[in-house]
């Protein structure tokens, strides 16, 4: 008990009363309470020890009056004596009057103490406090001064134990009681200390650095604007000492770091002391020291934020909502970056719907930072993606434009769509349209903008507010009038859209959808359809559960209603959570059902069937929006959407075709769809629509072909249906519409993978058209153009010449300096393909193209690395004086050797091929040997990848030509794995391996290894192969092994 009292308890400074007092704080309170609990429970648990009479009684002044005592006490007016006596017949409890209401009490046993505390009742805390204050070492009083608390080793217990053992029977029992009491007291002491330590460990010590950071952080939230968390925060003193403190030195002694004045939004200015022990309010510290009152006023907090939270409720609200928003965003971001396509899981990371309004306000200031952050993340996420995602530039651009663009978007959208495709925003254009894997990026980052509360609200705001009032408080007649009046506003304007949301109109509109009044539903949907073009409104609709109701409306009997619901869903389902909601409520199935209208051309159109067609069109629009999620694509397929889409594709209404083809091209990223598009005969219709009038339709058709033409059968179908001609025609026609151009060139690129198609393109002079597109085009188009040129050049030697003649080589080489990864991959391929022709190589060399290619080996994208390395191979083969050229690249050889450490198989294979070419020059071979190429190649020998095996064996064969590399390969264990290559099914691997083995077999040790690995039988088979090079190399190798054997025999026989 003594230890805790001296160490743990916090005493006020002794100066002000002669006697130290326990401070009023939590730690002491806990201490006193535990003391009371200990004492009160003591007689019950340890009756014997409780009866032990103290050496000297505990003595203090009490406010408990004698009258309170009863029972076992003899009470008089101003004195009390307990009936219980000690051996000397002294009462164990004695109260004497000192003065008016002031008594002195003496207690000599824990039992009495416990009784006293019970009598004290409400005053027991005060009493216990006094007891502890007066008797700083109670144990010493109880058991004698020998047990006083001392610093350092305390042997009192041991001494007592010895005494107990030594003493004879008489006092032994007494001693034992004493010992037990001591032990109990120490145990209690220990408990207290532990508790105290636990508390203490949670305390913080502040440093000037921390305080400075916090103040600076809070300063960024300060201002008198609605969005701020506090009004102002500043240091009292501007002067900063070397140690970072701002408090005057004589206060630094007390641990003060600095003083801060904070003005919260909803409270008076507070003056705060930042102490090393924490932050607390002081009674006012001013610059002029005379007025300063450093005394602490109230509790200590661990930092400024928690202090402010206690002082200002407004600050607390703001800061918590802010932290919340920020925290959630980060989470969402991570999910978004790492989880592709798995929309269900990722959705959990999405920002919660019930995010506080204020959080929205404050997010604004952070959004810019986060956006840039996101951009960079986005890039890294995109890297590993396949090349086909080439239309994405539009997505980013559109996202940027979306905010401003949608504001301008007027309701006369439909007209503008026909007039100019560029301006029109159909679902696909608003975000990614080529790949569903990019869906994670769209719309997640829309910054929420609100009307400034006190800025001038437009007159529409008040008018809309009035209308919403009628919506709320009127019967259906009033509701319909209000709805019609609302439609007259310019609902495409953001002010109106947000006004409807801000006055609570969205809730009412969505609520109307749940009524049975068809007119109200139609009116409400007409408005929702228009305002849902705004991204914030979309989110709000989804948050309010509007999608569920609209999905339910899809099966209504009224066709207008169905149309409107589908169109609104088409608008809302632009972000992932909404699409998921649609799916989870069976919306996909219902939307697919809308597609089911009478086949075209069978009957003359009646009003009714025309309505059906409109319904189908709206259904297709909604599916188009929904089809950006992978799971929705599957759901559409399972709901039987593909045959219906195929049937609608036969339509000749552009309005119908655009959403249908849009959906198809969106879904074509799925293999099952590509197959279905081919087998359901949709390619024919797609090709037919390619030659249509509407550019948007052409674009979607081209991009559907672009995606489907990954498969050879599809490419052939495109050719058979005559699709190559319109595609080629689009190159010249669509030069203004970049999206169309991108889609068309993409389709040409993929189609050019079939040799027959390339022939057709040759006839159509497509190469020349493509070359003209190499200048001044967006990267998006360039990627596809260059890809197409690469394919053409790789397959048909004539095309290489054609490219040269059309002047295509300089722009291609120029593009090698770009940064777009997908573009670089295609450019390197194209340049590599062109370099096969020696004449082209001359131009490339003159333009320094090889150096540019070589520089691309430094690119971080393995695909760029590998395609650059592949392109380097023909360059070295065909360049004049290639060895000299390669040596002229400073650090080039070292770079390429270091790429052998790559983990990407394709990079390794390409680099091996390049090394095989480099090693043709002896001097270069010597350099790369110095760079350690031999052990690195040897390390790769265990691979099972046939492409890598082939080029690795080639490289090994070439590298054997220098110095003792043969021996080195053997020492590095490359020989035995090479033998296994002969079992591969690929004859190219066999040839390269046989050459390598032939070279290696010139070293006797290698021959032994090979022989042990069973090479001879394999080689004997190879000798019988059709390939003369293989035959020769295999025979040579066998010859070497045989010669070694003969020499060996000869040596032995001698």
């Amino acid at each position: 008990m003594g230890q805790s009292l001296t160490r743990a308890a916090q005493w006020t400074s002794v100066s002000d009363g002669g006697q130290g007092k326990l401070e009023f704080n939590q730690a002491n309170e806990a201490l006193v309470n535990s003391f009371i609990k200990f004492v009160e429970g003591f007689p019950g648990r340890h009756p014997q020890e409780a009866a032990y009479v103290f050496k000297t009684p505990l003595e203090w002044q009490t406010t408990v009056t004698p009258s309170a005592f009863s029972g076992d006490y003899e009470t008089s007016d101003d004195a009390v004596k307990s009936k219980a006596r000690d051996k000397n017949d002294q009462p164990l409890l004695k109260v004497d009057k000192l003065g008016e209401l002031n008594y002195k009490i003496q207690v000599s046993s824990l039992e009495q103490l416990s009784n006293f505390l019970k009598i004290a009742g409400e005053k027991k805390v005060v009493e216990a406090r006094t007891i502890l204050e007066v008797n700083k070492d109670p144990v010493a009083k109880m058991l004698g001064d020998g047990f006083a608390t001392v610093e350092g080793d305390d042997n009192s217990t041991l001494r007592l134990l010895d005494q107990t053992n030594k003493d004879d029977s008489e006092s032994a029992a007494d001693m034992q009681t004493k010992l037990r009491l001591l032990l109990l007291a120490q145990q209690f002491d220990m408990q207290l200390m532990n508790q105290y330590l636990k508390d203490k460990s949670q305390e913080v010590r502040l440093t000037p650095q921390q305080i400075n950071n916090e103040v600076r952080l809070l300063q960024s939230f300060a201002g008198d604007d609605e969005t701020c968390a506090l009004e102002s925060i500043k240091f009292v003193s501007d002067y900063e000492f070397d140690n970072g403190c701002r408090a005057p030195p004589w206060r630094q002694v007390h641990g003060d770091i600095c003083y801060v004045k904070i003005k919260p939004l909803d409270a008076n200015e507070v003056s705060v002391t930042a102490n090393t022990a924490g932050v607390y309010k002081n009674k006012g510290v001013e610059k002029e020291k005379e007025n300063s009152d450093y005394e602490k006023d109230g509790e200590t907090f661990k930092d400024l934020v928690s202090l402010l939270s206690a002082v200002s409720p407004k600050f607390r609200d703001r800061i918590t909502s802010k932290e919340f928003a920020l925290h959630e965003e980060k989470k969402a971001e991570q999910m978004v970056t790492y989880i592709e396509d798995a929309d269900d899981e990722a959705d959990y990371g999405e920002r919660p719907t019930e995010r506080g309004e204020k959080g929205k306000d404050e997010k604004e200031e952070k959004s810019s930072k986060q956006q840039s952050n996101k951009k960079s993340k986005k890039k890294s996420a995109e890297k590993p993606k396949k090349l086909q995602a080439t239309l994405n530039w539009k997505n980013e651009k559109e996202n940027e434009n979306e905010q401003s663009g949608e504001k301008k978007d007027k309701p006369e959208k439909k007209i503008s769509r026909q007039q100019s495709v560029k301006k029109s925003k159909t679902p696909a254009f608003e975000e990614d349209y080529s790949e569903s894997s990019t869906e994670s990026e769209e719309e997640e980052e829309t910054s929420d903008r609100r009307q400034e509360q006190n800025s001038d609200l437009p007159s529409e705001y008040w008018q809309i507010q009035k209308l919403v009032k009628y919506l709320k408080g009127g019967n259906q007649t009033a509701t319909v009038i209000a709805l019609c009046a609302m439609m007259d506003f310019n609902l495409g304007q953001e002010t109106c859209q947000l006004a409807i949301r801000d006055v609570g109109g969205l809730e009412v509109l969505i609520n109307l959808l749940e009524t049975d009044e068809i007119k109200c539903k139609i009116g409400s949907l007409k408005i929702l359809k228009e305002i849902s073009k705004n991204t914030q409104i979309r989110r709000a609709i989804a948050d309010l559960g509007g999608l569920q109701t609209m999905v339910a409306i899809l099966k209504a009997s009224n066709k207008d209603l169905k149309c409107l619901a589908a169109e609104t869903i088409a608008n809302v389902a632009k972000f992932r959570r909404a699409r998921r909601t649609v799916r989870q409520h069976g919306g996909i199935r219902k939307l697919v059902a809308l597609l089911d209208c009478a086949p075209f051309g069978s009957l003359p159109m009646t009003d009714d069937s025309e309505k059906d067609v409109t319904v189908a069109k709206c259904g297709a629009l909604a599916l188009w929006s929904c089809s950006k999620s992978t799971k929705n694509k599957q759901a559409i397929r399972k709901a039987g959407g593909i045959p219906l889409l195929a049937r609608l594709l036969k339509s000749d209404h552009e309005n119908m075709l655009i959403p249908v083809v849009g959906t198809l091209q969106e879904c074509a990223s799925e293999k099952s769809y590509r197959l279905a598009i081919r087998t359901e005969g949709m390619i024919e219709d797609l090709v037919k629509n390619l030659s249509g009038e509407n550019e948007e339709l052409q674009m979607h058709c081209a991009s559907a072909i672009f995606k489907c033409a990954e498969e050879k059968a599809t490419r052939d179908l495109v050719r058979q249906y005559g699709g190559l001609d319109p595609l080629a025609a689009l190159l010249t026609k669509g030069s203004e519409n970049k999206e169309l151009l991108a889609a068309a060139t993409g389709a040409i690129w993929k189609c050019a993978m079939s040799a027959e198609n390339v022939t057709r393109f040759q006839d159509l002079k497509t190469i020349e058209a493509l070359v003209t597109l190499l200048n001044d085009q967006p990267e998006e188009v360039l990627v596809n153009v260059v890809g197409a040129l690469g394919e053409c050049a790789a397959q048909e030697p004539d095309n290489r010449m054609a490219i040269r003649k059309a002047g295509g080589i300089p722009p291609l080489v120029n593009l090698l300096t770009g940064t777009n990864q997908a573009l670089l991959v295609n450019v390197t391929k194209a340049v590599g393909a062109c370099a096969i022709e020696p004449d082209n190589m001359g131009i490339i060399d003159r333009l320094d193209g090889v150096r540019l290619l070589w520089s691309l080996l430094k690119n971080h994208n393995p695909e760029v690395q590998s395609s650059a390395a592949w392109a380097i191979c023909p360059c070295i083969e065909n360049a004049k004086d290639a060895g000299e050229m390669v040596r002229s690249f400073v650090g080039g050889l070292e770079l390429i050797v270091s790429l052998l450490k790559s983990e990407d198989k394709e990079v390794l294979a390409s680099v091996c091929a390049a090394i095989a070419n480099i090693a043709k020059d002896e001097e270069n071979l010597a350099v790369i040997t110095d760079h350690g190429v031999v052990p690195m190649l040897a390390k790769l020998a265990s691979t099972t990848d046939d492409k890598l095996r082939r080029h690795l064996a080639d490289a090994i064969a070439r590298c054997c030509m220098w110095g003792n590399n043969r021996v080195a390969f053997g020492q590095n264990g490359a020989v035995a794995p090479l033998v296994k290559y002969l079992k591969s099914p690929d004859s190219n691997v066999h040839r390269a391996t046989a050459k390598a083995l032939y070279q290696l077999s010139r070293d006797p040790n290698n021959c032994i290894t090979m022989h042990e690995s069973g090479v001879v039988k394999l080689l004997v088979d190879m000798v019988g192969a059709d390939d003369p090079a293989l035959q020769e190399a295999a025979a040579g190798c066998i010859g070497n092994i045989r010669r070694l054997a003969l020499a060996n025999e000869k040596a032995r026989s001698k």
Binding site: Q465, L467, K472, G474, N475, A478, I481, N511
Partner: protein, 268 residues
């Protein structure tokens, strides 16, 4: 048989081709008229009086607004004798249930044009719309909301700006926005009750069939005819007609509990 047919044709010198109905529906409606009027006394034989007609509108088509119901009767009642005879009944129903947009516009306009002067004036609108808004006790002028609604309607529909709606104004704006057809209160049956009513008519064309299915709650005597006697439909198939899915009678706000009706601040 032949005689019966002749009798019918004499009674009503019109045939089903003149209406939007098919033969079965036409006969069925005629039969229904017979049934509804069978207890009428000689003076009103083969005529529906105001109360009877209102009962029909109320029980089958769930109309509640007295003003509107009276006006619907006026619209049916071509010869302005305050009774609906059989031909007025059938032709009225033809427009009422299956009318083209043009016919329905005319019908609605007639209903709303309370004084039949060819215009819907502000006063008529006020009369029609006065019960549209839930009265807020907090508002100083309880009629202000209704006046606002009238202004909104005029702004939207009064194309020639003469502060009243001509049929031209009405039809032009309705063609542009079909929702405005029943601007001043529901005067046409909701599609769901039309569909089920017609379905029933098409299936039960015979008078005898009606006899077995309808029971009039009490025989109509001249004395009791003034008190409204509701039709009681006993057959389960018909019961569906009477109680279709819940129709919000007093506006959508009633059908939904979640919508809070809160007074909004007044902004001038």
């Amino acid at each position: 048989m032949r005689k019966d047919k002749e009798r019918k044709q004499n009674q009503s010198e019109y045939c089903w081709q003149d209406t939007h109905f098919c033969k079965e529906e036409f006969d069925s409606l005629n039969n229904m008229f017979q049934l509804l009027t069978k207890n009428n006394m000689h003076a009103r034989a083969h005529k529906l009086d105001r109360t009877q007609f209102r009962d029909v509108l109320h029980s089958i088509f769930h109309m509640t607004d007295d003003i509107i119901m009276d006006r619907v009767l006026r619209a049916f009642d071509k010869d302005s004798d305050s009774y609906v005879n059989q031909s007025e009944w059938v032709f009225g129903m033809s427009v009422f249930l299956k009318g083209t947009l043009e016919e329905r516009m005319e019908f609605c306009f007639q209903v709303y044009d309370l004084n039949t002067d060819g215009f819907i004036s502000r006063e008529e609108m006020f009369h029609l719309l006065k019960n549209c808004l839930i009265k807020q006790p907090s508002e100083e002028d309880p009629e202000e909301g209704t006046k606002e609604l009238i202004e909104l309607t005029l702004k939207k529909m009064d194309l020639d700006h003469d502060s009243r709606l001509s049929f031209m104004d009405f039809s032009t704006s309705v063609k542009e926005e079909p929702l405005l057809l029943e601007t001043f209160g529901p005067c046409l049956p909701p599609p769901a009750s039309i569909a089920s009513f017609l379905e029933y008519c098409a299936k039960a064309p015979d008078y005898q069939d009606y006899e077995s299915q309808f029971v009039m709650s009490s025989p109509m005597s001249p004395s009791s005819s003034q008190s409204s006697v509701p039709l009681v439909w006993t057959h389960s198939r018909v019961a569906r007609l009477v109680q279709p899915s819940k129709v919000p009678v007093a506006g959508p706000s009633h059908s939904n509990q979640t919508r809070k009706r809160q007074p909004l601040e007044q902004h001038k």
